[in-house]
Amino acid sequence: MSELRTLLAIDKVSKNFGRVTAVDGISLDIRENEFFALLGPSGCGKTTLLRMLAGFETPNDGRILLDGRDIAGTPPNKRPVNLMFQSYALFPHMSVRANVSYGLEMERLPANEIRSRVDAILTTTELVAFADRKPEQLSGGQKQRVALARALVKRPRLLLLDEPLGALDKKLRGAMQLELKRLQHEVGITFVIVTHDQEESLVMADRMAVLRDGKLLQCDTPHAVYEYPADRFVADFIGVMNFVPGKAAAGGVLAANGVRISGTVPATLSPGAAAVASVRPERIRLFPSTETANRIAGTVEALAYQGLDLQLHVRTALSPKPFLVRVTADAADRRPVSSGDAVELGWDAAAVRIFAD
């Protein structure tokens, strides 16, 4: 994103419910016009953080600065932030138009302005034909668009989306991911989306934050999080990763069977400490050239044809779990393999990430 101005600054925010700490000293900045994702497994604190941004929860500690002003104690109806609920929370007794108008009526805008703004957003979200319908008369995708229109029509500084695609089936979800991005670009509003689906945040977000147990593990672009995970948890949570457990050594990790996996060892890891070397399936080649830094023999245990590519499970002496390898359709055609075949796997030292275990 070209704009780098900070819109929302979350400053050492903590929230606990009784003895349970839901959010533990999280600090992060969200920039103007950004599509930002809060990602983490359930119970990681992402929903609590979102509810604090919306105003439904008050932090026990820390500040939430919107345009430099602390809004941590401002009630939800007094902040220029809107939330799209996971359940959509459409008012069942009101038509689509009445649902969308509601927020503008609360601002006591003149009737003709409400009308024209509602018409405009209904057009943007392709809901004009459904304006007089009640929520029960809509499909899941249509309801989702009404919820979005109802929040967007307020022109908030910040739009929060709680698992916005969670209730949709898989195919529709794919289409809506791109649709949401297009809409965000069109309306020029900062989006913060909460999701447990790592694929969703990789596709949609400009930047993402990975949370676990109320703590922020990493905040960066999807590319950086995918290629340079901050720790073993992030590496495992985002995408698919092969792990080789062992001990840190000079220039790599010594696996249990004595084989050294070459890679850059982080400075924080002292030699002999428990470590894992990891490599993404798409970085592994079958039948590598002899110059390849890391090579290991294995046996194909299972194959899964995926259309785009072929996924192999290869049993090696390096790790208790089989290696997952993705071979492009082209490569698979050039040199076919089948279950039970002996193969050799290879990958470059640059593809290896090493973490404390």
């Binding site: 919306a54 105003g55 439904f56 009630p75 939800p76 109806n77 809107n82 939330l83 609920f85 996971q86 359940s87 929370a89 459409l90 008012f91 069942p92 007794h93 509601y102 927020g103 609360m106 601002e107 319908r133 009640k134 029960e136 008369q137 809509l138 499909s139 109802r150 929040a151 307020k154």
Partner: protein, 280 residues
Amino acid sequence: MAPALAWLTALMVVPCALVLALAFFRRGIYGGIEYTFTLENFGLVFDPLYAGIFLNSARIAGTATLIAVVIGYGAAYAIAAAPRRWQPVFLFFAVLPFWSNYLIRTYAWIVLLNREGLITQLLRWFGYTGEPPSMLYTEGAVIAGLVYNYLPFVVLACYAPLSRLNPELAEASRDLGASAMTTFRRVILPLTVPGIAAGAVFVFVLSIGNFVTPALLGGGRFQMIGNLVYDQFLTANDWPFGAALAMALIAIMLLVLTAQSLAADRAAGRIAEAKGAADG
């Protein structure tokens, strides 16, 4: 089906038909019944004296209904807002009075409202020395008795839709800029109207035909239709007129119940229609 029909016929249709038939006969000179057909009894129902009692009953029942709905809805709202595990406990306490007899519950109010009853004693304890307030045998006492006896129905009827309400709806309203009051008026109240209607009809129908409460707490000074019917059968010995009054009362109740059920059906029909359109 058959046993249910037989039960209904024996215990509901036959007695009602007997009372209905009675209303078309003449009263004998020394009480008793003279079996000649007449419509006089129904004409007499519309006599200003008796029509006035009908109106008075409707007014008392209406007032009791209004008060019961306000208190009952408030209580139901508070229970629905309480932590989940406490809700059954509060509901249990709300319906606890039903465990004792209606008469006993009404007598309890006499103990409370008596000239030297608990309320007067409480006032004296606070240093009040004047005349004891006359509370018993007033219209207020009758209304208090009716409200007290039928309040649990309203609590239960209103609790059902309130507890089913998605809490995110109220949050969405707040998020869109509505105050707590506006949220209640525009989102929570409209979505719980069916419960209010059901509870209100219950209180109204049971109150307008009630005769125990006005007899005990009104001291016979505030006649409601129930007392009038009672008097015709047991004091005035005019069974045919009593029957006509009873029929008029049943007609009013049926009217109210039908109106409520039609409104509920229309609401349900709208939802069914809406569901059909969404599936199609």
